[in-house]
Subunit: 198 residues, 2 copies
């Protein structure tokens, strides 16, 4: 009997994942078939579970299994402080670093008129609402140091100006352990112009 139709469809779906191409997708699928009980079936089950239960927090856009995510719902998080990020991946990076203890607002992208991504798509009105509702005193714009990220940051700052909330951005400069030789010009320029007394 022909097993190739399902397997080819599976390889096709895997090949659409970021970081995988046709060849690595084939290798991944063969690997899964060989590890049927310990990897393929658990993966199928977890994907189905996540697909059924996970959605966006109605308050901040983080992933959640209920209307409100664990971070928005936690009494242990500092109130009055919101960190604005582009994507859930950035929220995860902040959480892994264990350096921020307030709440988040996930934009879900950057402003992009060409791709028809406007302020409403990025939940910016919702962010403005939260400032009053949650008694927010400071908003940290932790957007990527890209043109799109910084354009979006400026727009958000402008939109929030009437609320009087303090607005800050992440410092730019040389990363810890960074070797000057490997840094791009923009980073070097930013690090130089923000130089501090030694």
């Amino acid at each position: 009997m022909d097993a190739t139709r399902d397997i080819e469809a599976l390889i096709g779906l895997m090949a659409r994942l970021p970081g995988l191409g046709p060849r690595s997708a084939r290798r991944a699928v063969l690997h899964l078939i060989k590890k049927r009980d310990t990897q393929l079936l658990p993966l199928a089950q977890l994907l189905a579970d996540v697909g059924r239960t996970v959605r966006a927090c109605l308050n901040c856009g983080n992933l959640s299994t209920g209307d409100i995510c664990a971070i928005c719902d936690s009494a242990k998080r500092q109130t009055g402080l919101i960190c604005v990020v582009e994507d859930v991946a950035d929220l995860w990076a902040m959480e892994r670093a264990k350096v921020f203890h307030g709440r988040y607002h996930v934009l879900g992208g950057t402003l992009s008129p060409l791709d028809d991504v406007g302020p409403d798509d990025l939940h910016i009105p919702k962010l403005r609402d939260r400032i009053a509702a949650e008694g927010v005193t400071e908003v940290i714009l932790a957007l990527n140091a890209t043109v799109e990220g910084q354009t979006t940051a400026h727009y958000v700052a402008q939109e929030l100006a009437p609320t009087g909330v303090a607005i800050s951005g992440l410092a730019q400069g040389v990363p810890i352990g960074g070797e000057l030789d490997y840094l791009d010009d923009g980073t070097l320029r930013a690090a130089l112009s923000a130089r501090k007394a030694f």
Copy 2:
């Protein structure tokens, strides 16, 4: 509610796939969650289907949804000719190239006394049985040009010698479009010693 337990388990499983690490697994999982209906749920379903239906062909070791695979079962394949490969991935490569029209025998690995992989694990007795049962006149050893592949090829050739079947191996040499400058010494040496009159 906390969505992180299932998502972290999912990232952990994805990170065990060949070619993916923790970072690319996180990106893949976020990508899937964003494409819930078009990618995550279809992937979960296909994995479950493949896990339920796909197994090894009892005759040749190719993937199959029944006892006997589509290639062994096809009346269109040339009889009397078996191509021995290490892995299903190699069978796929041969089929993509559309250059072989006989049947296969998938060893499922190479001989490796250290890893406790012996002749029975590689279905070599079954291969010997097939030579009589299918009236095979030629066996092509299409094993990888690695030490393990060639050691296994020599063992298989030795085992099949008493059957009197013709045994061949793939030619070694410069790949089509290959630039000498990029080839390893072993390939160059093999290509030189197998040189042909111009």
